[in-house]
C-alpha cells in the first residue's frame, strides 16, 4: 500500500511546506482540512436556512423566487445564495483533499478502518446534497441535471415507471417530484451530519474548528468571491428545449458528461467497482492486527495520563477491580487500539531508572515493551565508540532512522515517538550512554498516530505530563521531524548536531560542573 501512498505524500509535503512559508503552522489550511469541512458545513446550513425563507417551493415558482433573491435582494438573500453555493464548492474541495491526505498518511489501514468507512457515506451524501441543490433552481442547469440524473437512474431495473419520463416534455412535469428533491436537499445533509458525528467517534480531540486566523481568512475569501462574482441562475428551464449548453459546476457535476455519453452498464459498473475498491482499501491487503496495549494493574495508579494521551479513544477509566485504594484503573478496548504505544510513553511508571526486574509499566505494548526499548538502548550503547556518541530514537513509521546507524550513532526503534517516556532521554544522557539524543519522527503535523509528535514536543517543553526534567540539558537533545522521506534531512541534522556535541564535550552533572569550577578556581588561586 505504501507504494501508492508515497507519491501523494511527497505532493502533500511539498504543498504543506510551501504554505508554511506564509501561514503560521496552526493556520496551515492543509492541516485543517477536516475542520474546514465543518466550517463550510455550518456556513452552508446558516445561509441555507436564510435562502429557504425566500424560496418558493413550487416547481413553477421556484425560478422566479431565486431570481428575486439575486436581483431584487442582491445585498442580502442574493449574497446568502452566493455564500451557499461557494461554501458548498469549498466543502467538496476540502473533503476530497482531506480524503486524499488521510490516504497519503496511511491512516486508514486495518484497525483504523472506521474513520475511512464512515467517510464514504458522507462523501456520497455531500454529492447528493449538491446535486439536489442545483436541481431546485429549476434553470437550464437544473433541467440538465434532472434529465441526466433520471436517465442514469433509469438504467437500473428497479423503477417500474421511467423516472426520466417525468421530464419528457412540459406537460409531464409534476411538482410532486420537485417536492421530493426539496425534501432530499434538506434531509440528506442532516443525515450526513449524523454520520460525521460517527466519523469522529474513534479519534480523540478531533480538530473540528479551524483556528481563528484560518476561519477569518476563509470567511473573507468567501465574502469577496460572493461580492465579485455572485452566483446567478442560467436561463429558466424549459422542457420543450434541449439544455444544449450549460455552465457546469465541475466540482459537483464533473462526472455528468460521462454519465450522459457512456453506456449505462459502463457507468454503473465503474461507479460500483470504484465504490467497492474505496471501501476495501483498509484491508488491501489484509493487515495483521497488532497486539493491543495491555494494562498491568499492579503498576497502574489510575492517574488517567494514558487516557488523556491516547489518540484513538481506546482507553477508558473504570472502577478499580483489585481493591487497591486508587480512583480507577485504565482499561483498553483492543478493537480501537492501533498499538502506537503513546500510552506507555505517558505512564509515570515507565521509567528506565527502575531496576530491570521491575520495568513493567502500568500500560505497555506486548510486541514492543518499554523493557525491550531499554534493552535496545543498552545494546546500542555497548556498541558505540568515539568521543561523540548519539542515540537516535526513531519512529518506525518514519523508517529513515535505520539509515543513520553507525559506530557512533545508535538507533532504537519506537512504534511512535510518543511511545518514548521522556525519562529515557534523561537516562541516556545522565548515565553517559551517549553524548546526545535525537528523536526522529513523522513530519511535523503529519504524525501517523495523529498526536505523537505533538505530545512529544509538549513533554520536552515541560507543558504536558510526563515532563522531561528541567535539569536535562536541552542542547543535548534534538527532535527531527523528517518524515518517511527525510533521510537526507535527518543525516544533515545529525552531522550538525555532532558538531554541537563535540563543542560541548562530555556530559557533566551540575554538581560535577560546580566541583570542576571550584577545582579550577583553587588551581588559579595557587
Amino acid at each position: 500500500m505504501q507504494k501508492y501512498t508515497a507519491p501523494l505524500r511527497v505532493l502533500f509535503d511539498a504543498a504543506e511546506r510551501l504554505l508554511s512559508r506564509f501561514f503560521p503552522p496552526e493556520w496551515n489550511p492543509l492541516l485543517n482540512l477536516g475542520a474546514l469541512g465543518f466550517f463550510f458545513y455550518w456556513i452552508i446550513t446558516a445561509s441555507g436556512i436564510y435562502v429557504y425563507i425566500f424560496f418558493d417551493t413550487g416547481v413553477w415558482q421556484a425560478y422566479a423566487s431565486v431570481e428575486y433573491m439575486t436581483n431584487d435582494q442582491w445585498y442580502a438573500a442574493g449574497f446568502m445564495r452566493s455564500f451557499h453555493r461557494y461554501a458548498s464548492d469549498g466543502l467538496v474541495i476540502v473533503m476530497l483533499l482531506h480524503m486524499l491526505r488521510e490516504f497519503s498518511l496511511g491512516r486508514f489501514r486495518g484497525i483504523r478502518w472506521f474513520s475511512w468507512i464512515t467517510g464514504i457515506p458522507v462523501l456520497l451524501f455531500v454529492y447528493v446534497a449538491g446535486i439536489t441543490g442545483y436541481w431546485l433552481v429549476w434553470d437550464k442547469l437544473a433541467q440538465y441535471v434532472a434529465i441526466v440524473s433520471t436517465e442514469w437512474l433509469d438504467h437500473l431495473p428497479f423503477f417500474g415507471q421511467s423516472v426520466a419520463g417525468n421530464f419528457l416534455s412540459p406537460t409531464s412535469l409534476e411538482s410532486r417530484f420537485f417536492t421530493l428533491m426539496i425534501f432530499m436537499h434538506i434531509a440528506v445533509p442532516l443525515i450526513a451530519l449524523i454520520v460525521l458525528w460517527l466519523h469522529l467517534q474513534r479519534v480523540t480531540k478531533p480538530r473540528i474548528n479551524p483556528p481563528r486566523g484560518l476561519a477569518i481568512g476563509t470567511g473573507l475569501s468567501l465574502f469577496v468571491l460572493s461580492a465579485v462574482y455572485p452566483a446567478v441562475s442560467q436561463a429558466p428551464a424549459n422542457l420543450a428545449e434541449v439544455p444544449g449548453s450549460v455552465g457546469l459546476d465541475w466540482f459537483y457535476l464533473g462526472a455528468y458528461p460521462l454519465l450522459e455519453n457512456l453506456s449505462g452498464p459502463a457507468t454503473w459498473t465503474s461507479a460500483v467497482v470504484a465504490l467497492l475498491v474505496v471501501a476495501a482499501i483498509p484491508w488491501l491487503p489484509p493487515m495483521k492486527k497488532p497486539a493491543a496495549a495491555v494494562v498491568d494493574l499492579a503498576n497502574c495508579n489510575g492517574c488517567s495520563r494514558c487516557l488523556n494521551d491516547c489518540p484513538y479513544n481506546a482507553i477508558t477509566m473504570q472502577m478499580r477491580s483489585d481493591g487497591r485504594p486508587f480512583e480507577g484503573e485504565a482499561v483498553v478496548d483492543p478493537d480501537m487500539c492501533v498499538a502506537c504505544g503513546i500510552c506507555a510513553g505517558s505512564c509515570p511508571t515507565s521509567t528506565p531508572f527502575r531496576r530491570m526486574s521491575d520495568l513493567v509499566p502500568g500500560i505497555d505494548l506486548p510486541d514492543r515493551t518499554i523493557a525491550d526499548i531499554r534493552a535496545d538502548v543498552h545494546a546500542e550503547a555497548e556498541r558505540l565508540s568515539g568521543d561523540v556518541r548519539i542515540m537516535v530514537f526513531g519512529c518506525k513509521n518514519a523508517e529513515v532512522a535505520a539509515t543513520v546507524r553507525s559506530n557512533s550513532v545508535g538507533v532504537v526503534s519506537l512504534n511512535c515517538t510518543g511511545q518514548l517516556p521522556p525519562s529515557f532521554i534523561d537516562y541516556v544522557i545522565s548515565r553517559r550512554l551517549a553524548e546526545g539524543v535525537v528523536i526522529a519522527g513523522c513530519s511535523e503535523n503529519a504524525c501517523y498516530n495523529r498526536l505523537g509528535t505533538k505530545w512529544t514536543t509538549a513533554r520536552i517543553e515541560g507543558s504536558r505530563d510526563p515532563f522531561l526534567r528541567a535539569s536535562v540539558p536541552r542542547e543535548r537533545l534534538k527532535t527531527v521531524w523528517a518524515g518517511r522521506l527525510g533521510a537526507r534531512m535527518l543525516r544533515a541534522q545529525i552531522t550538525t548536531f555532532d558538531a554541537v556535541l563535540s563543542a560541548l564535550g562530555p556530559y557533566r552533572t551540575r554538581h560535577q560542573r560546580v566541583a570542576a569550577k571550584t577545582t579550577r578556581e583553587a588551581a588559579d588561586d595557587e
Binding site: 506564509f22 421511467s162 420543450a240 428545449e241 434541449v242 444544449g244 449548453s245 466540482f251
Partner: protein, 168 residues
C-alpha cells in the same frame, strides 16, 4: 516564517488563488452538449403488447383435475407480444426495434426511451407501432410535419389509452 506583512500578503495571494479557482470551475468551462444547429427528438414508449395466445375456456374435465382453490374457468397465457416500432424522418428510418416485453414471464410492458439529434428545420416525422405478433401491418401511426427550431425538444410519446402517438 518571514515577517508579518509578507506572511499576510502570501496568505492573501493564496486565498485569492483558491477563491478564483473555486469561482471559475463553479460554472466554467461551459459544457456544450448539443450543437447549436441541431434539434432533438425524444421517443418514449411504454406499452404492453397483446397476449400471445387467446384465452381459452377450460373443459369441465380439465377443471376437475385442478385443486379446488385454483379452479378458474378461463386459462390465459400471460406472455405478451413484443412491440415493434419504426421511426422515420423524411422517409428515412432512423430507429427500428422489436421491443421485448419486460418481466420474468414476459408479461410486462415493452419500453423504449431514445433520443435522436436532427438538423433544425422542416421535417416529416413518422412513427409506427405494432403490438401483436400475428399482425403484419402497423396498428398505430403518427405523423407530424414539424418545423424544428434549433435545440427544440420534440417529445414523441405513445399512449394507447389516448389513441396512440402524441407529439409535444
Amino acid at each position: 516564517m518571514m515577517n508579518r506583512f509578507t506572511g499576510y500578503l502570501g496568505q492573501a495571494v493564496f486565498y485569492a488563488f483558491a477563491a478564483a479557482l473555486a469561482g471559475y470551475f463553479a460554472t466554467r468551462p461551459v459544457y456544450r452538449q448539443v450543437p447549436a444547429d441541431q434539434a432533438q427528438i425524444k421517443l418514449m414508449i411504454k406499452h404492453g403488447g397483446v397476449r400471445v395466445e387467446d384465452c381459452r375456456k377450460l373443459t369441465t374435465q380439465e377443471l376437475s383435475k385442478l385443486p379446488t382453490t385454483a379452479r378458474r374457468p378461463i386459462d390465459c397465457s400471460r406472455e405478451r407480444s413484443p412491440v415493434t416500432v419504426l421511426l422515420s424522418i423524411d422517409g428515412e428510418p432512423i430507429y427500428q426495434a422489436e421491443l421485448q416485453p419486460t418481466g420474468l414471464s414476459k408479461d410486462g410492458p415493452s419500453k423504449a426511451y431514445e433520443k435522436f439529434l436532427v438538423p433544425a428545420g422542416r421535417h416529416l416525422v413518422e412513427v409506427r407501432l405494432r403490438d401483436d405478433v400475428r399482425d403484419q401491418d402497423y396498428k398505430y401511426e403518427g405523423r407530424l410535419d414539424a418545423d424544428l427550431k434549433p435545440w427544440q425538444n420534440l417529445a414523441v410519446e405513445f399512449d394507447a389509452e389516448r389513441g396512440g402517438f402524441h407529439f409535444r
